[in-house]
Symmetry: C2
Amino acid sequence: MTGQRMTPAEQAQLAMMLEVTAFPKPGNVDRCHDYPDTRLEHFLASVIFVQPSLAMASEPGARTGALIRDAVARTNVHSGGNTHFGAFLLIIPLIMGGDIDGAIKVVRQTTVDDAVEFYQAFAMTQVRVLSSDTLDVNDPAALDMIRQQHLTLYDIMEHSAGNDMIAREWINGFQKVRIGADLLKGHGHGRNSIVQTFLDLLSFELDTFIIKKHGKEIAEKTMMNAREVKDGHLDLTMFDRSCIDAGINPGSTADIMIGSLYVALGEGWQWDS
Amino acid sequence: MTGQRMTPAEQAQLAMMLEVTAFPKPGNVDRCHDYPDTRLEHFLASVIFVQPSLAMASEPGARTGALIRDAVARTNVHSGGNTHFGAFLLIIPLIMGGDIDGAIKVVRQTTVDDAVEFYQAFAMTQVRVLSSDTLDVNDPAALDMIRQQHLTLYDIMEHSAGNDMIAREWINGFQKVRIGADLLKGHGHGRNSIVQTFLDLLSFELDTFIIKKHGKEIAEKTMMNAREVKDGHLDLTMFDRSCIDAGINPGSTADIMIGSLYVALGEGWQWDS
């Protein structure tokens, strides 16, 4: 089945489903691993519940911030907490724009209202932020500051790009999403490419979700371990086990992967070969 | 999260997702087992792609046969083949009717057109039928016979009820779906109840999908093994392994389970406790 036969929303849901079921994936929830509070079913329930937000993203007049807030609200209904915040930041502009070039335009056109709605979405979740951040989402003054300084959602992402690899995608033209899509296609059709691409992405760059949760040293160690797996010096299953045991989940890399899967599916990469 | 906050279509998709991810489930595709040609991702892709058919089932003027055909067409697009034919026969009337009492009325009101559309759906799939069946779906004369004899879809199900436990549900008032929903609630909230209920259902009655594929003797042996697991005389993982190795998948019991999950979710049973 190729991308042409799917709606953009279905293509995004398929990307989310394929990411979470790919196995073995170091540290993240996957087909064979849960975390005590966030399990495979929570991720898959979010794939189901987010459908209306993703369908609206293809409609004329769709607005980035409002849709991100809508998607977070629809998926924040189960006990598994936030599952896809970072992924929504990527796939909603990708659906709205049609492709990466279109998504680049979409994010540059975001407004102050989009920024406010993004912060309202943020406030529903437990997404990790660095406490040193002057635009701390838990700070009620942040919304006033956004309005007073006329900050758009793009401005917010520019501000966060140093510490957050998803924000960085908005600024650098979805660079890592593009690389991931090319890697997926390079590794060939089918689910094994997802695992290989995940390892590639993890070995290139520090996962900022790990930095926020465990600090830079652990993120660096995780990146080095991913390289060792690729070089054949570390067993993937062992690496996965050690990540799971220590609660080290490369969540931002998983979000990038969802964006990459969305793009690759649209370019003819086949998931079920 | 309770059933009230979901749309009927979401509730049905959730039931399909929870059934296929429940583990360990003897013989069927589950979180940890694939068959070579039909994998977990195929089932989950069908959960995504069937959404419009399920949403239409809540609309006024919905028609059973047309929706079954629509659901089969939408999910017949990947290489995994037919994944949910039997389940659609249960959940579409359940959504249309609102509950089991409503579904009983829906199936009794089906028409000759519904029967024709059902056969058109059938023709898209590789669903197993007994070759002794006079209404063999592979026989072009069957459609003429349906029209000449004014057979409704309910009549077709009545004709098939002896050999097919899904058809039997239409005739006996969704009896096994009801029992499964009560068992789920009795075993308590959460995913472990799904596995227990699956074993209960498998130990009560021969799975007609196994009969059609392997014969009655194997179906009886599977039922007896399920009883032994319940009695603590056989290890569930061993039973699962032996079924998978022999290709014995209780597919009709899985379809009943999806109907039971749909009903139980609507009655307050919680999946994520």
